[in-house]
């Protein structure tokens, strides 16, 4: 037996001894049914509102967490909204972006001077652009799934992160996000990382004063696309 297996068996054995139990079919089945069909959790009322209200809630919390929220009337407006935000923040018109099909299909022709570099983020990228899998209204939280389409480093390396999220992906509570992830990746499966992002990076570790951009982005700009 390998050392690794030794450790495993020792820990499991100790737990069983402490619980005064053993590996029974009944206990296995209790666990299997909970994993297969989780009992409905307690969802706060604020997460159960109509979608129009959820949009306001999402915006309220994200702005309260120091993010910028822009609503675009349609996907066609997104490139211009991005360019306008970058100009307003005095940033170069250059973004790092993955292979996301939705983002690739946007009307970039409207902003010919906006450069898109493909791939994972590198050290000197100033702006990352991602497409969120879901937006959770209850706490103003973006849900990003890693992959070639939306590399995880885009969320953390550049000083500015722009995230596009579609209105159809706005959900009330975290449960809505689990549903979307399960539809996309299957039950009991996840991509390498799922990132809940609820504002720019921050710290209050020095002098108790809140400062943005501790290690990740100093700025988070969310574009919520309607229609």
């Amino acid at each position: 037996m390998s050392r690794a297996t030794d450790g495993r068996d020792a820990v499991i054995h100790k737990i069983r001894a402490a619980l005064g139990t053993y590996d029974s079919a009944a206990r296995r089945s209790t666990v299997a049914s909970r994993l297969g069909a989780p009992p409905p959790p307690l969802v706060p009322e604020r997460a159960k509102q109509a979608s129009e209200r959820l949009r306001g809630l999402f915006r309220h919390y994200l702005e309260g967490q120091s993010a910028t929220v822009i609503e675009a009337a349609s996907a066609a407006e997104v490139p211009t909204a991005i360019a306008r935000f970058l100009r307003g923040a005095n940033l170069p018109l250059r973004v790092r972006v993955g292979e996301d099909a939705y983002l690739a299909a946007l009307a970039w022709g409207a902003e010919p001077s906006l450069e898109r570099r493909k791939g994972a983020a590198v050290g000197d990228d100033e702006v990352g652009l991602s497409h969120a899998t879901a937006a959770v209204a209850e706490t103003g939280t973006l849900v990003l799934a890693s992959g070639a389409d939306n590399p995880v480093t885009l969320n953390y390396l550049p000083e500015t992160h722009i995230v596009v999220v579609e209105d159809k992906d706005l959900v009330g509570g975290y449960e809505g996000a689990w549903d979307k992830l399960r539809v996309r990746f299957g039950r009991r499966a996840m991509p390498r990382t799922v990132n809940f992002v609820s504002g720019p990076s921050r710290t209050a570790d020095i002098g108790g004063q809140l400062v943005m951009g501790a290690h990740g982005p100093r700025r988070l700009c969310v574009i919520l696309v309607r229609g």
């Binding site: 402490a18 706060p44 390498r192 609820s198 501790a214």
Partner: protein, 476 residues
Amino acid sequence: MSTLTSPDFKDNARAALADKQLQRALSEVAPGLAARRSAARAALPEFEALREAGRDIKDHTLAHLDIYLDEFERKAAAAGSIVHFAPTAEDARRIVRDICRDAKARLVTKGKSMISEEIGLNAALEGDGLEVVETDLGEYLIQIRGETPSHIIAPAIHLTQDQVEADFRRLHTKLPPDRQLIEPSQLVAEARQILRAKFLAADVGITGANFLIAETGSSVIVTNEGNGDLTQSLPKVHIVLASIEKMVPTLEDAGTLIRLLARSATGQEISTYTTFSTGPRRAGDPDGPEACHIVILDNGRAELLASEFREVLRCIRCGACMNHCPVYTAIGGHAYGWVYPGPIGAVLTPALIGVRNAGHLPNASTFCGRCEQVCPMKIPLPGLMRHWREAEFSAGDAPLLYRLGLAAWAAAARRPRLYHTLARIVMPVLATLGRRRGRFRRLPLAGGWTRHRDLPAPQGRTFQALWADHHAGVPR
């Protein structure tokens, strides 16, 4: 292992009370966190119901922990993680050292992990010649001073901005000596610049885990800085350090605990970053680690499942009990002398390092009960501290005078007549002696009490005597 000074708790506490700078920091930070928690709780009507749901999730998971660990391991392995079980701190250190050696690592970055403090990981890795860099800003600030955390979510609350500036000037010598470091934002920017280079150069990234999810084999970290994400996404190897009780069954269960964690800790609706990691990078992924190891530590926790201290394993390490504790807020975290301070430390520390080493901790409580009131997992902390006091007493570890005093008290309290007789004799004497001031500044055998406060003098008659008069209709 983190240097153990819990046996010197009384000296530590005395020093902390005399430390003006620490007192100023404590008087600001902990009450601020408590007030923000209170506001967050008020903003979510379901908060109390969520606490009950959270408690039930953990109780269910602990009762089936062997099977959930099995499920977790299976799912994590299916996603490409390598799961290691470490019965002891030494096992965990050996596993991590071996992984670093196999990866030919020279530089290791670390996200915040209390377990890493518990097993003394940094010293072990540094002993192997590795450079180990803490990346949580608070952890970095104390690492460069050679100190330990004083709070589990705000590890550097005992430091002032001036101290940080002095440390940065002493250590970051490649930067211009005449640079401005007046604002916290300037200090943060400097730390960002220094640590960014470490993130990019690291060979191995080590993070803790707030939760392990059996459903998907995922580990979860919660941060506000994003340091944990850079730690685990950039190096070629990611090591997760977790202990057995971090387990939850499903994503839904993790969601319930996430709803409680940040609100209890900092009063945020949610922390800025909550990250679910499942295995190494996938085929086609342009970033993420090439290998992911998950080290699951027992280190004495399984035994707690069989004991009256089982409920302490529900803890999600939010720190609310500290922010609301009159003892913690008076002396800070270092006085507790080991990794876990405050009420949770007063219960957990004796369990992990022995009541003989940490017997002072459960005794340093006023039993005011606020820790239990605010604990998101409804852990009955005062009751568990009382168990430790009993255990210490039964083991014969309590000081002789304390034992004799308690034995004398018990003898009188169990014999009502004797008690009443003694009270009738002693009380008028004390009342007469203390008549002038109405209180005692000094009393023989009670120096521990009167050193910090006065003892009110009895008013002359016992409660029983007054009660008897009251029943007999005698006017007062």
